[in-house]
Symmetry: C2
Subunit: 364 residues, 2 copies
């Protein structure tokens, strides 16, 4: 099968699952053509995933990579309060990977998530690469005119919220770097025991009551790998917050809470004070860190890729916030302040400057 045959098959697959009546033509022409509505704004985002930088080939089942490629762009659309509708996918594959069933599994994971949110793949590109796998994920959506939630519109006094829990994706990455792997039926390889960690011994997954502790720790490890490899975009929350005009500003947590809160404050020309005790640390992170001399709070503050939504709400509207959307709860973590760029965290009686320590591709 050459690339044209593969694209033709993709086109057939997408025709059979066309969710949106407003796709006039998708895959198979020079460009996709979409019908518009006058009272809507179009929202578009693109995210590059590079092997060895954004994922490890040997640690990422292709199906989960397909899921993640779409999920990270859906998360951007969610952060604008928009409804995702269409996507494009550009893939560069080494010839040896092209010859495997990588692409079939990849698209399988991609389409399961696309179907969940009614997203239609309308185009893309496919090329050989000599080096690492590269994936560019593009998603378009729509939002009622004037309803998009920017990063730049938070005001002093607004209350700061975050969906779900934090630190899980970063802990999953640490576990992968320690050797943990997901197979088709759950964990296929365990992390090497931490060298510095208290309470670990060579070859052991955990100490204490072996049968019991192992089971709970294995469950935590598997959950954290899924947090890293199969992130869930908060599309439902994004829609509720924009439709009800509850969020004054919003961003998704891709680089890490400390970095993304700094981005939001910088864009809004404001500051923030968050409460250490209110940060919703992923429970599995606490389980995993307890035995590995890692600090769960640091993972929750600085670990990236949780793809939760971080947003601000006018104090008058806090009472109107739903308790949960799609089963995902909220945490109230702090308040927007008037001092530009001053992002601080209170821990017991002390207040610290919160340095952005999330992910950056290129260092100064």
């Amino acid at each position: 099968m050459n690339e044209f045959d593969f694209i033709r098959r993709l086109s057939d697959q997408t025709s059979s699952r066309k969710h949106s009546a407003r796709v006039l033509a998708g895959i198979g022409d020079d460009a996709a053509v979409l019908g518009g509505l006058a009272d809507r704004n179009t929202v578009i985002t693109t995210d590059l995933l590079v092997e060895g930088i954004d994922f490890y080939r040997d640690a990422t089942p292709p199906r989960l990579l397909g899921h993640k490629a779409l999920a990270i762009s859906l998360s951007d659309i969610a952060a604008m309060g928009a409804r995702p509708l269409w996507s494009l996918l550009t893939i560069g594959l080494p010839a040896d990977i092209w010859a495997t069933n990588f692409k079939e599994e990849f698209y399988e994971g991609y389409f399961v998530l696309a179907d969940k949110y009614g997203v239609t793949l309308v185009g893309g590109d496919l090329s050989e690469v000599k080096g690492e796998i590269v994936i560019d994920s593009i998603v378009m959506g729509e939002v009622a005119a004037g309803s998009a939630t920017w990063r730049s519109s938070a005001s002093p006094g607004d209350q700061i919220f975050v969906t779900g829990t934090l630190g899980g994706a970063a802990a999953g990455l640490k576990l992968i770097e320690m050797g943990a792997r997901l197979g088709p039926d759950g964990l296929s390889s365990l992390p090497a025991p931490s060298k510095r960690g208290a309470g670990t011994e060579p070859g052991a997954v955990a100490t204490g009551s072996l049968a019991e502790t192992q089971t709970s720790e294995l469950k935590a490890i598997e959950a954290l790998l899924h947090r890293q490899l199969q992130p869930q975009p908060r599309v439902g929350w994004g829609l509720v917050l924009s439709q009800e005009r509850l969020a004054t500003a919003m961003i998704d947590i891709s680089d890490g809470l400390s970095s993304d809160l700094a981005h939001l404050c910088e864009a809004s020309n404001a500051g923030a004070l968050i409460q250490s005790a209110l940060i919703p640390i992923d429970h599995d992170v606490i389980t995993m860190c307890g035995r590995r001399a890692l600090d769960p709070l640091m993972l929750a503050l600085n670990g990236g890729e949780d793809f939760e939504l971080l947003f601000t709400v006018h104090p008058d509207n806090v009472g109107r916030l739903p308790k949960r959307v799609d089963g995902v709860e909220l945490s109230h973590i702090g308040e927007v302040t008037c001092e530009p760029f001053a992002v601080r965290i209170a821990e017991k009686d002390r207040v610290w400057d919160l340095q952005p320590q999330g992910f950056s591709h290129f260092k100064e």
Copy 2:
């Protein structure tokens, strides 16, 4: 400068050149937001450029690479008969290239072309790669509702036309592979003499009257390198053909005339007969091939990346075609036939099957 600083600077640059009042927000938020019109269709395309596959780093000045990345996507928009309005650009760069002024020169070339067509960069992504440079170019445009020119709507009897000339980009690639290079002020390195070519001698650029022939050959070489490295999208022609409803079907020549004509015929469930003598071979290709035992017709038929427009016109409308648009002329090369997938070329008294021999990333 880290990636955030660089993106901020890009955002400042693009704000100062915002062509489209309908960009509500571009670079600097999670996604770009665009205002819509009800009587328009949105058109979107994406193209991946990979170092070593689509370009050679040492043969491609960054400024021209920036131009080409945008040009190839503008060409897709032109082939739909749409007006380009917005773009996104995703780049993966090795750390050593990031440290140079590659990106500044790249964006300079990109913006010169974007300004020419009033295109606003509204987003993108930037990442480190370990291997080759990768660039994903995304362009969005609009076309009056119902006016997009598909590949699939050619009918038997329609006349086949192509803009400009063919073979130049492929000849330029051959020259690059023979060692020719463009510097900031024209040719910086000449192609090695062809080993099999008649009339060449070691170290010589050309034979015959040295001063005279060399000048004309040097000019041809430089022009062909520009055809390869700095293709000109036929945006004006695309707009005229769709606005006047002259083209029944259209595609841009990216893979090569033989391949792209086959794509158009396949999509239209039709065939084609073209006349060998009517193929508009680039004049510089004839000059260059004459001394190198290469066949200009083969380059014009099978060479890719000319980014000319190939389109079909109902016989009643042929008289309404403009002679030229933006200084670019047309050639009438053949006719659509009723036998599906039968693409043929007539040469003197004989008719041959025209095999698609253009570019394909992955072989069967």
